[in-house]
Subunit: 151 residues, 2 copies
């Protein structure tokens, strides 16, 4: 994780959102497959010693938030990012020691439209998808709608 | 909170799900309006000093889980309760010192059907709704689908 913006995202998450620090959320990496956040199972477990649904949702929510953070900051926009709605499917238990949530990259036409709206209207919406795999299988499928109120 | 089962629910949540303890989730009460859980804003805040979306979702998720816990235990069933999917709308920021999530009671016909399925098939599904109010306005609307694998 060498990108300065990824380090800034990590600091923002852990210093400004106490529950992200409690969950142990870390920016794992950002690449072609998307933005990856991780959290340890140990402190995010449920009664069955698998990942707590609330933690899985929070990790995906922050992965999407982080993706919007990177997109907007790289475009020179420092507006507030809020999530308006989300839906999530818990398809199988997650029992890996580290829980990894990946927010998929945004398709270029959608990205162009989003940035154009943000620049011209000062507000724009982005639909994002995130997922958690466990042993190679899709365990969690998340989609969220984020809004940026530009500066 | 005098009901022994509510005390058991509180202990289960805080002793067996570390993030619920970190969030400071407490069983606030159970009555005609539903099961109410609360958590302090302070440790569940975001960058804007309002409630973190991940915490709001977790609180609603656990409120629904707790409702199924009460329903099944009161019927003598001690099976595992899991959430299969949920959706949530964040309609306005929550800035009250205590965040209260209320899981609405289950209509009697739905409850009868659920318990009948659980007794006869050993498995049953329940759709639940929870909400968070702030200053009297609906701030968060949550719906979740829970499955009980009976014993």
């Amino acid at each position: 994780m060498h990108d300065e913006l990824l380090i800034e995202l990590q600091q923002t998450i852990e210093q400004q959102i106490p529950m992200c620090a409690s969950m142990g959320i870390h920016v794992h990496g950002d690449g072609e497959t998307g933005l990856v956040l991780r959290a340890p199972l140990d402190r995010n477990r449920n009664r069955q010693q698998t990942a707590f649904a609330g933690s899985l949702n929070a990790l995906c929510t922050v992965a999407g938030w982080g993706m919007v953070y990177l997109i907007t900051r790289r475009d020179g926009n420092f507006g507030d990012i809020v999530i308006r709605r989300s839906s999530i499917k818990y398809l199988r238990p997650v029992d890996s020691e580290q829980i990894l949530a990946t927010c998929a990259p945004v398709a270029q036409p959608d990205l162009d439209h989003f940035l154009e709206m943000l620049r011209s209207k000062g507000q724009a919406k982005l639909e994002l998808r995130a997922e958690v795999l466990c042993d190679g299988d899709l365990a969690v499928a998340f989609s969220g709608s984020y809004v940026v109120l530009g500066t």
